[in-house]
Amino acid sequence: MGVPLLNASGCLDPLTAPEVARSLDVVVTKTITPLPRRGNPPVRIAEVEHGMLNSIGLQGPGIDVFVDDHLPRLAALGVDLWVSVGGFSAEDFARCCERLDGDERVSAIELNLSCPNVEEAPETAAELVAAARAATTKTLYAKLSPAQWDIAASATAAVAAGADGLSLVNALRGLALDERTLQPRLALAVGGYTGPGLRPVALACVYACAAAVDVPIVGMGGVVSGRDALELVAAGASAVALGTVLFADPLAPGRIRAELGAEAAARGFADIANPSSPLVVRTGKNLQTDENDTA
């Protein structure tokens, strides 16, 4: 059994790239909010030396259009589907989760508690998780920001509030200036910083949270190779999500799955998902999803 590979939320539209979606073990939607959102004005992306910035701003159709229009088409792809939901209050999270509760096309819900491109929610992460928990019996993954002093404390609070797993990490905030004019390259100046430069931070967050809580962790942040994925597993992740790398290489899931297997085997680590292997720094936990998987 290999390590499940997911896409990072917001880094794949399964409807425009079904073949990429099918090459993953789990597909995660872009974050859905209660109401439709236009998102941020362009320019929305800028490459930097060791990653990229994005300022998408949660553009999306809103939960109702999503469920009525997108979800049937997503379900038709026959992939294991997680829905990422977001918002600006506990009520927002509750509303989205309620709408998805009992929907058997959805095998888990990821709570985006950490979008770098929207204003901070007034509630704490734990309060948002608690509201979601009250609204659904579905498996809940809490997605946390690396931009905090003590992510393990947040993770502990999120799990206490009812999260079944963690998704680590979202983007940091970054700025890039135009080479010539020195003005910000993104229309809203600051955006989410992702890609290779984020990797050591993501690894530290997974490591800290894996020591603090006993739930499965989806690790992500700057993964480009099987070696990067293996390191997240060694630090405590039970699954790995691919974000920025999908833009450069739509074949990344297959390639990284193969590389990961080879890197693990080269270290005498045949059963990479086996949590009792001495090579794993933290005990890996199996990826948890609802039993009513569509896949």
């Binding site: 917001g10 880094c11 794949l12 539209d13 409807l15 425009t16 790239a17 073949e19 990429v20 872009k30 236009r38 998102g39 362009p42 320019v43 929305r44 992306i45 800028a46 490459e47 930097v48 060791h50 990653g51 990229m52 994005n54 998408i56 553009q59 080479e179 890609g195 290779p196 920025t244 999908l246 833009f247 450069a248 290489d249 739509p250 074949l251």
Partner: protein, 224 residues
């Protein structure tokens, strides 16, 4: 859409531009106006390029080096390999009666292939300098104007079916002058296949992905 690692066959100078010829491998050339994402060695993201030429077993791209990504691509040497994804997006609608290709600067890029597919229609091309205008040699039947004359100054009264590619101000002007013209627009792109929502342009008060809804759009279609 297909992704392949392909070999650079040649990298030739055309005026200030580079004509990069890649082995086609299993990639399809697609419709003129469609584009490919080319790996930029040493950079995190690939870069979008219109297919410029489609000789047998090759894909040709005309590249203007303006920043780190295009500079890395313009430096590629024969024998090197890069990752290429495509064809992507919507190309030009070729069912036109009286085609006129209108282009400015590096906007000439898709025209050699487009001209071939339309059997050499007339083309009106604007360039900054005579050096840049050397690229016009890749397009049959081309009339060239140089700055300060603009292509919009030289446009015939009844231009017919305009298929255009060039800088945003040129396309914006054509948008007003030639309703129904087909405009190949640009936006910064991270993925090119609808994954990132980075390449949006405004249409009817909403943002749409240019890589999915374009890059060729109709003048007057509400997309800017």
């Amino acid at each position: 859409m297909q992704t392949e690692r392909v070999e650079v066959v040649a990298n030739e100078g055309v005026g200030p531009y580079r004509l990069l010829r890649l082995r086609r491998s299993r990639l399809q050339p697609g419709t003129p106006g469609q584009f490919f994402m080319l790996e930029a060695p040493g950079r995190v993201l690939p870069r979008p390029f219109s297919l410029s030429l489609a000789p047998t077993r090759e894909l040709g791209f005309l590249v203007e080096a303006i920043g780190p990504g295009t500079r890395a691509i313009a430096r590629l040497e024969a024998g090197e390999e890069i990752r290429v994804t495509g064809p992507l997006g919507n190309g030009f609608d070729l069912s036109v009666r009286r085609p006129l290709l209108v282009g400015g600067g590096i906007g000439v890029a898709p025209f050699p292939y487009l001209s071939e597919r339309l059997n050499g229609p007339p083309a009106l091309l604007g360039f900054r300098t005579a050096h840049h205008a050397e690229a016009a040699a890749l397009v049959p039947n081309a009339e060239v104007v140089l700055d300060p004359t603009l292509v919009t100054d030289a446009l015939p009264d009844d231009p017919g079916d305009v298929l255009a590619c060039g800088p945003a101000p040129m396309l914006d002007a054509l948008e007003g002058l030639v309703p129904g013209a087909q405009l190949a627009r640009e936006a910064p792109m991270a993925c090119g296949y609808g994954a990132c929502y980075g390449c949006v342009v405004e249409r009817d008060g909403w943002y749409v992905r240019l890589c999915v809804e374009g890059p060729v759009v109709r003048a007057g279609d509400g997309a800017v």
